[in-house]
């Protein structure tokens, strides 16, 4: 891996640093304010403490209007890890909790606690964390969180979250770059409070256990570098790095690049490359919080610009209105055509809406420039000189971004990595056409965000809608199915009644035909068991190694047993049919099907009945499941052997039919039914087979007159498949009957 720890240390040992692309060199103007020590301000009459001053979520207010508060008393509380509390900057009374103009470019009012100072500045009981090194980390982190510390360099990320990484930290980088022109608050802080900053770094080291601490300071602050060197002398692990002055070297990603040559991946965090960065001001606040228990209620603010007569750095209470700071620095608005106060530096700061805007935790500078110091708004056409691309510290193509942002081609702007823009302003600074490039990017970014939010919303709505539609359709299907089943049941019931006449005709036909065939059958009954078995196998599964036990046709004259046997046969057939239904899907269910089919033959006239008991033991169930090709069975539809083999199928011959039919007719019918059933199963199994000849005849609805129309209750509640199969079977049976008729 390039840029591994040892290589970086080696290069740092040689006092070498890396560089980042682009960058600009605006006039520094730092001497305006860094010549005097950090001054003190009187306590303002009213303080406006914005509830949310950091990235994350705001806490819940725990004070009420009219309540007396002490200096350092927490005003909000939250269990959310991304919430840090705010504190009363001085003692006094909560005058109001309402929306107040915010320290934000938009100036939109935000929930703010307004405190009227009692000028006594009375502290609440402070609980310093004595001997933090022996304390568990969680307690130190809690102290930092409770002190309301969020990053003081710019973004305001909650410090305790940044200080509890999940991975090993190679470098803890302390950012003392302060690359923006005019601003000197970190400079003065390092000069005057280097020791305390160092203590803060000690605490962070305890929490993070970094391999190396790099303290980056721009080389235009020699006094600060010296002070920090003195403070960190005892600890060889703390390395002061004098960074060449170039804007924006103080950007988090840029400083990481300069000191380690590592790059934070897009959409990633410094932690992803083993780096944590904290601002010097944050270190100072940490030390305050841990060693004296003081929450973050004040910070150093540079008040500068040529429109203030006494530019300097001041300790300002969080919540002090800008007007308070300006008044004590002798701001002279007459030096400006229109009053113009910038919070932050000239490169990235924003204009405050009015002078009631409060100082917040990230406010490092109040800049009141004269008109000559700032650019006028004189936008001209882009000449594509790409001076902006040369200045861009993250190697974007600002001219392309501008082009697409202006044309509202937001997808293309994103394609050019719009969201990697750090809004440092270097491009707009160098633009000869004075195009406010960053402004265009901000607009494009916010439009994209709005678009994305809307897309999310519409996606959700669509999802909801689609789910609802699906639900409705499913319900509709369920209803339809229910109706269909009911209708079918009704129809079947009707048929079983109404078809009696037809049945009788069919039965008569079958009888007549059966008589003719009697001779044949009689011959065939003498066929040996083996033959029968072979035929079974041939008919059922010609290609399978089917084991089928011999069928034993025994003929009895046992009229008393008839009914019992018939019942048994029906029951067995039913069971087999059920099994066949399940085995339609699962082909190889090894089950032993023992079917006893009793065929009763009765003579028409004298009611002397002969029954042929056919016991079929088919050990392999695949006789039913693995059906033969339809034409394999087709050529000999009248063979009774098939009937026995297909006893599995619906040989639920009804009594009426049995009685009516002659032996041969019945056998023929059974064969036909068995065939029909088999083909029905095939049809159910595969669509392809259904297209083949045997099923073609089934299409005719009139074919459903059969010898066995009676459906039992159980069958009715059987699955749809079975019903179709039954219908097909009926059709087949009808056809067989017709054939039998013809042949007779």
């Amino acid at each position: 891996m390039p840029n591994n720890y040892d290589d970086i240390i080696e290069k740092l040992d040689n006092n070498q640093l890396w560089d980042f692309p682009g960058g600009v060199f605006p006039a520094e103007r730092k001497t305006l304010s860094n010549q005097t020590p950090i001054g003190k301000l009187p306590i303002p009459e009213r303080l406006f403490v914005t509830v949310k001053q950091h990235i994350g979520v705001e806490g819940h207010l725990i004070v009420e209007v009219g309540q007396k508060v002490l200096k350092g008393q927490a005003l909000t509380k939250s269990m959310n890890p991304f919430a840090v509390p705010i504190h009363a900057p001085t003692s006094g009374e909560v005058a109001a909790i309402q929306k107040h103009v915010s320290a934000h470019p938009s100036g939109l009012p935000e929930m703010t606690v307004e405190i009227i100072s009692d000028q006594q500045d009375k502290w609440i009981q402070l609980n310093p964390l004595i001997d933090y090194q022996s304390q568990p980390k969680i307690k130190v982190l809690a102290a930092i969180c409770d002190a309301g510390i969020s990053g003081m360099g710019g973004a305001g990320f909650p410090t305790h979250i940044k200080s509890s990484p999940k991975k090993d930290v190679d470098f803890l980088i302390i950012n003392g770059i302060e690359c923006e022109p005019y601003i000197t608050s970190d400079d003065r802080l390092m000069r005057e409070h280097a020791w305390q900053i160092r203590q803060g770094i000690d605490v962070l080291c305890h929490l993070l256990k970094p391999k190396q601490v790099l303290i980056g300071i721009e080389n235009n602050k020699p006094e600060a570098i010296e002070a920090m060197q003195v403070a960190c002398r005892e600890n060889p692990n703390y390395r002061i790095c004098s960074v060449p002055t170039k804007y924006p070297a103080g950007g988090e990603k840029q400083l990481i690049q300069v000191l380690t040559n590592r790059e934070v991946p897009a959409k990633g965090l410094p932690m992803d490359v083993g780096i944590i960065m904290h601002n010097v001001g944050t270190c100072f606040a940490i030390s305050d919080a841990v060693f004296s228990g003081k929450p973050l209620i004040s910070r150093v603010v540079t008040v500068t610009g040529e429109a203030v007569e006494k530019p300097s750095n001041l300790w300002a209470l969080i919540g002090s209105p800008v007007a308070h700071l300006l008044a004590h620095s002798d701001y002279n608005p007459k030096l400006q055509k229109q009053p113009n106060v910038i919070m932050g530096g000239p490169m990235m700061g924003f204009n405050v809406i009015n002078d009631k805007v409060p100082v917040i935790k990230t406010t490092n500078c109040i800049l009141a420039p004269t008109d000559t110091e700032i650019s006028s708004n004189n936008e001209q056409a882009c000449i594509r000189c790409s001076a902006c691309a040369d200045a861009c510290p993250v190697s974007l193509l600002p001219q392309q971004l501008f082009w697409h942002s202006k044309a509202k081609e937001l997808d293309k702007a994103q394609d050019y990595n719009l969201f990697d823009c750090i809004e440092c302003g270097a491009c707009a600074y160098v633009c000869p056409s004075e195009i406010p490039l960053v402004h265009y990017y901000r607009i494009a970014k916010s439009e994209i965000r709005v678009e994305q939010e809307e897309k999310q919303k519409s996606d959700k709505a669509r999802e909801r809608f689609e789910k609802r539609e699906a639900r409705l359709i499913a319900e509709q299907h369920a209803r339809d199915e229910k109706h269909r089943l009911a209708a079918e049941a009704r129809k079947q019931a009707m048929e079983s009644k109404g078809n009696n006449a037809k049945d009788k005709i069919a039965a008569a036909l079958a009888r007549a035909k059966a008589k003719k065939q009697a001779v044949n059958i009689e011959e065939e009954t003498s066929v040996s068991k083996a033959d029968l078995a072979n035929d079974v196998i041939e008919a059922a599964a010609p290609n399978e190694t089917t084991e089928a036990s011999a069928t034993q046709p025994t003929t009895k004259v046992a009229s008393s047993n008839q009914r019992v046997q018939a019942a048994i046969a029906r029951a067995k057939a039913k069971k087999a049919a059920a099994e066949a239904a399940t085995s339609n899907v699962e082909v190889e269910v090894p089950s032993e099907v023992e079917v006893e089919v009793e065929v009763e033959v009765e003579k028409n006239n004298d009611k002397v009945s002969e029954s042929i008991k056919t016991e079929t033991q088919s050990k392999n169930q695949s006789v039913n499941a693995k059906e033969p090709a339809p034409h394999a069975a087709k050529p000999e539809p009248l063979k009774p052997e098939s009937a026995s083999s297909e006893s599995v199928s619906e040989v639920t011959a009804t009594k009426t039919a049995t009685i009516a039919a002659s032996k041969k007719a019945r056998i023929a019918a059974a064969v036909a039914k068995a065939k029909a059933k088999r083909e029905a199963q095939k049809a159910a199994e595969t669509e392809q087979t259904s297209k083949e000849a045997p099923l073609a005849e089934v299409e005719d609805p009139k074919t459903d007159s059969s010898q066995e129309p009676v459906k039992t209750q159980e069958q009715q509640i059987d699955m749809k498949k079975r019903k179709i199969a039954a219908a097909v079977a009926k059709a087949k049976a009808k056809k067989a009957a017709e054939k039998a008729d013809k042949s007779s």
Binding site: P265, P346, A389, P432
Partner: protein, 364 residues
């Protein structure tokens, strides 16, 4: 108290577009002076005509487009375009040539595409090509350098020649073109091209008076003029008005092409030095190809853009129909700029490669 609102950054570097353009114009002065020295006042008259035409055209069109023409004129871009075109035109070319050319450059090539910053083609070069194709005779009547000419001419001669075609003494343009040896002079590039086609070798050709200079192969006038523009170009580089990429890659590409071919056959193919310092290569490399609007905007792209121009110039000079080729080469590459820019995007910080974007896009 109500405060002023503006977007950051609030500071601005003290150089606007007008200043950039004026710097470029300033950098042209040494070259223009030398050109005037060698070819007489014609150059100055052409520049004057072109500038007036350009400013009037620009103002008129902006007025028609309902734009603030006063502010737009202050950017000096029209003046610069006019100057670049004027120095490319033969000094005694009839006045209407330069007027038509400038009008075409400003009106058609620049304003009809949307004005400054929107033109696809380099206006001066597009106009030059238009003139060269439309008025080939007028556009190739280069005078011999003053010290080689049979008849000298002063400012009034030049003025008359431009407007009437005859000098004050009544010499026609053809007479003015006659060299000291009584033969009509051609430009160095023309001379070489013609004589090579007549069967002379390169080394024989450069013995002619027009190549009467210290270093073999350099035209008397054109090498000095090139030197003037080179000084101006280096000044622009120093002032960071232009980047080094385009001039360097363009000159290098031409140099290498010429070097290879002259090594192959030095009788047929002129030397690298000949190619670099004759014709309009230097002004082309520093002043024309670097026109920001129509050139590539990425650093990698600029190198490709410049190198391709150099190669095109060489191809057209050696095997094409025209003795010089800057205008054609620049226009050809202007067309390729969007493509070059698209494929030479720099790697953004934190991204592993430019390809990642497309992937991300596909995901979203």
């Amino acid at each position: 108290m109500k405060f002023r609102l503006a977007s950051s950054p609030h500071q601005h570097i003290r150089r606007d577009t007008g200043q950039v353009m004026r710097l470029v114009i300033l950098a042209m002065i040494p070259g223009v002076l030398l050109q005037t020295w060698f070819f007489g006042w014609g150059t100055v008259i052409q520049i004057g005509l072109a500038v007036v035409t350009a400013v009037v055209t620009e103002a008129a069109i902006l007025e028609l487009r309902k734009r603030d023409f006063e502010r737009a004129l202050k950017d000096y871009s029209a003046v610069l375009t006019a100057m670049l075109l004027a120095v490319s035109i033969p000094p005694f070319a009839p006045w209407w040539v330069v007027v038509i050319g400038t009008f075409f450059a400003i009106c058609i090539v620049k304003q009809l595409y949307g004005g400054l910053g929107f033109n696809v083609f380099n206006p001066a070069m597009a106009a030059y090509v238009m003139l060269l194709v439309s008025f080939p005779v007028q556009m190739t009547q280069w005078l011999p350098p003053v010290n080689l000419a049979q008849y000298s001419h002063n400012f009034m001669d030049a003025l008359q020649a431009v407007f009437t075609g005859f000098s004050v003494e009544g010499f026609s343009l053809a007479q003015l073109k006659t060299g000291i040896d009584g033969v009509t002079m051609a430009t160095p590039l023309d001379t070489v091209k013609t004589s090579l086609s007549q069967g002379f070798t390169y080394s024989e050709t450069i013995e002619r008076p027009i190549f009467d200079s210290v270093i073999p192969g350099l035209g008397v006038a054109s090498s000095w003029i090139s030197l003037g523009y080179l000084i101006g170009g280096l000044y622009l580089l120093k002032q960071k008005v232009i980047n080094w990429h385009i001039p360097t890659s363009m000159l290098a590409a031409l140099f290498i092409c010429a070097l290879i071919m002259s090594l192959v056959d030095s009788d047929l193919y002129p030397s690298s030095i000949f190619h670099l310092f004759n014709g309009s290569i230097i002004i082309g490399a520093f002043f024309i190809a670097t026109d920001p609007v129509s050139a590539s905007t990425t650093n990698k792209g600029r190198i490709i853009f410049g190198a391709a121009i150099g190669i095109w110039v060489y191809l057209i000079r050696e095997w094409g129909g025209y003795p010089d080729a800057i205008a054609f080469a620049v226009l050809i590459m202007n067309m390729a700029v969007p493509l070059i820019d698209y494929y030479t995007r720099p790697r953004t910080y934190g991204h592993t490669s430019t390809k990642r974007k497309t992937k991300n896009k596909a995901q979203s």
